[in-house]
């Protein structure tokens, strides 16, 4: 990012960083608090991963500047994300479809 950054731009960015920081800490407290309710496994996973995804997106979008990044980077990440999903889902789908034998 070597577009000309005015001091104003950077100061705005800094304000955004602080906001995101507070949001991240808040979400951390939320996710820990929810865990104390000891939800059953599936809802617990959904809630925890949902909150983690928001936190991850915030870090990626603002600290890693993804929100203003070029298309090419997005393309690489979407490609990676697709294969990541394949790696997460297909092995366990294979396991489930085997009739439960280990």
């Amino acid at each position: 990012m070597s577009e000309a950054h005015s001091l104003e731009d950077i100061k705005n960015q800094v304000r955004r960083y602080i906001t995101v920081f507070v949001a991240l800490l808040t979400l951390t407290i939320i996710t820990v608090t929810v865990s104390y309710f000891h939800l059953s496994v599936v809802p617990a996973i959904i809630v925890a991963m949902f909150i983690a995804s928001i936190k991850g997106t915030l870090v990626a979008s603002y600290f890693m500047h993804l929100i203003s990044e070029r298309k090419l980077i997005f393309f690489v990440l979407i490609l990676t994300g697709t294969f990541f999903l394949a790696l997460m889902t297909l092995p366990v789908a294979h396991h489930a479809d085997r009739g439960g034998i280990i």
Partner: protein, 555 residues
């Protein structure tokens, strides 16, 4: 030049890996007979009295596969040809990250040393197949630990290299060189690099997990209640060997496209040049390559049809596997159609490149019954599989790589390789390579399993086809003999080969021929601009039958 370093190292590993297979073929043709001449070299632990022990056969098998794939073919196709030709073909002064490139090479070298040294540890080299399935690999001898460490080095080398390639191709193209003006070889390397980048890390993770199972007593891949040699294994259990298979094949399937794509790239360049006409269907080939790369990530479990897989997942992977054959066929068809109507010059590179087409065709077609679960039930883990993949890699990729050596030798050295020796090398190799691998389909269909140290001698159902073992082994020895024509030609031509009288002896259009021979530091002496696509051969109305990419338009 890193490309040359990779090239020499890889060629040496190819020869070594080939030699391992020659030993195996002796045992398969004449099980239990002492290995002639060199039988005493292997020591009593491997071959007492020169007679190969099953344990040694298993080492040879596992290491032949590992060395050929990871130390030979990929470093030659990607490390050597990629590093040397890609920057030249895109008009770049160097790779984007030269120091990272050096690290890639030395990591590869270290990986190779680790793999080779494993032959000398107690118990010898890795012996659980190149696929290192748990739990066998977990309880295997020390050589397996070396294999895993070697793989970590090799994977690191590949990852660093792939980052370099992608950034170089995206960022360092010369002025006017848009993506659709890239030589097909560069497209092939670009997609290959994405495959290496995203598919290798799971195997790196898996290797670490297997190392932990072996060294720290973990049970990632060990199920509960495993009994070894009558004793219950003292581990926590709870793991699964299937996990290893998923992580291994997640890499190993894209890996086979890594093996073939650069080869297709080389063949494409040579065919266009030696038919004096543009490639047929360049755009289709590019889109097919991209689609192929993408699909290669979601077919891997066709290597796992026999794991008790349920019908839903089996249907999914069979479907994706059938779909992935389409882009391969498109690329092969385009290359075949590129021959039609061309003024074909049967130079030595062109002989190899043309032979690639039907050989890859056989390899590809024989893959279909393996990719369909019902037929795979009969054919899995038989010699049919070995025949299938060797057709694609040996008379397929290796022929393309030979073609590349003959083709680009004048660019690197300023001399041509000897044509007569080249043709002898070609015809001898072509005949005998088919002699080795065609009978494998026969043996496989008869049900002869792979990885049997005696070639199937003990099985009644194999008896009718066992004579093919001798035929195949003799073919292998002859094939080995004909490689000497290449080796001698290569070294002789370095010093005594006929000097070329121009920087562009093949009258080619792509940028690598637009630079001094050999290319200086910084590759090009003047900044380049590209004005047209890569295959402007026989353009009507032009004086010459080729128009280089960098030649300015007539005003």
């Amino acid at each position: 030049m890193i490309g040359v370093q990779y090239g020499i190292t890889a060629l040496l590993f190819l020869l070594f890996g080939f030699s391992l297979m020659i030993l195996m073929r002796w045992q398969l043709a004449y099980p239990g007979q002492p290995i002639p001449f060199i039988g005493s070299w292997f020591g009593d632990a491997n071959a007492p009295g020169g007679i190969m022990l099953p344990e040694f056969y298993n080492q040879l098998g596992a290491m032949h596969g590992t060395i050929m794939v990871f130390l030979g073919v990929v470093p030659l196709a990607v490390g050597a040809f990629g590093n040397y030709v890609v920057p030249l073909q895109i008009g770049a002064p160097d790779m984007a990250f030269p120091k990272l490139n050096m690290m890639s090479y030395w990591s590869y070298f270290l990986g190779g040393v680790t793999m080779l040294s494993s032959f000398f540890v107690p118990g010898g080299a890795a012996n659980s197949g190149w696929t290192s399935y748990a739990p066998l690999a977990t309880i295997a001898t020390t050589g397996q630990t070396f294999w895993l460490c070697g793989m970590v080095f090799l994977i690191t080398s590949s990852l660093l290299g792939s980052i370099n390639f992608i950034v170089t191709i995206v960022q360092l193209r010369a002025k006017g060189l848009t993506f659709m003006r890239l030589p097909f070889f560069v497209w092939a390397q670009l997609v290959t690099s994405f495959l290496l980048l995203l598919a290798f890390p799971p195997l790196e993770a898996a290797s670490v997990l297997q190392l932990m199972d072996r060294l720290l007593g973990t049970s990632f891949f060990l199920p509960s209640g495993l009994v070894v040699a009558g004793q219950q294994l003292h581990v926590s259990g709870g793991g699964t060997p299937i996990l290893w298979q998923h992580l291994f094949w997640f890499l190993a399937h894209p890996e086979v496209y890594v093996l073939i794509l650069p080869a297709m790239g080389i063949v494409a360049e040579i065919i266009a040049n030696n038919t004096r006409k543009p490639l047929w269907g360049y755009k289709s080939m590019v889109y097919s390559t991209i689609f192929l790369g993408f699909m290669s990530f979601i077919v891997w479990a066709h290597h796992m049809f026999m794991t008790g897989m349920g019908t839903v997942i089996s249907a999914f992977f069979q479907t994706t596997t059938m779909i992935i054959s389409i882009p391969s066929v498109i690329i092969l068809t385009a290359l075949l159609l590129s021959l039609y109507g061309g003024s074909i010059r049967f130079t030595t590179p062109m002989l190899f490149a043309t032979a690639f087409l039907p050989m890859f065709g056989i390899g590809g077609l024989t893959g279909l019954p393996l990719g369909l679960a019902p037929s795979d039930i009969h054919l899995h883990d038989t010699y049919y599989v070995i025949g299938h993949f060797h057709y694609v890699v040996a008379p397929g990729t290796l022929f393309a790589l030979f073609a590349g050596v003959y083709y680009w030798f004048p660019k690197v050295t300023g001399r041509r390789m000897n044509d007569i020796l080249g043709r002898i090398h070609f015809f001898g190799s072509f005949i005998f390579i088919n002699g080795i691998f065609m009978p494998m389909f026969i043996e496989g269909l008869a049900g002869v399993s792979r990885r049997l140290y005696d070639g199937g001698q003990q099985y009644a159902h194999a008896q009718g086809v066992l004579h093919w073992n001798v035929f195949m082994s003799i073919s292998a020895f002859c094939l080995f003999f004909f490689q000497f024509f290449f080796i001698v030609n290569f070294f002789w031509s370095l010093w005594k080969g006929k000097k070329v009288n121009s920087d562009n002896p093949w009258e080619a259009t792509t940028l690598e021929w637009d630079t001094p021979t050999p290319p200086p530091h910084g590759n090009f002496i003047k900044p380049l601009e590209v004005f047209r696509g890569p295959y402007e051969y026989s353009v009507p109305g032009k004086a010459k039958d080729y128009v280089p990419q960098t030649e300015p338009e007539e005003v």
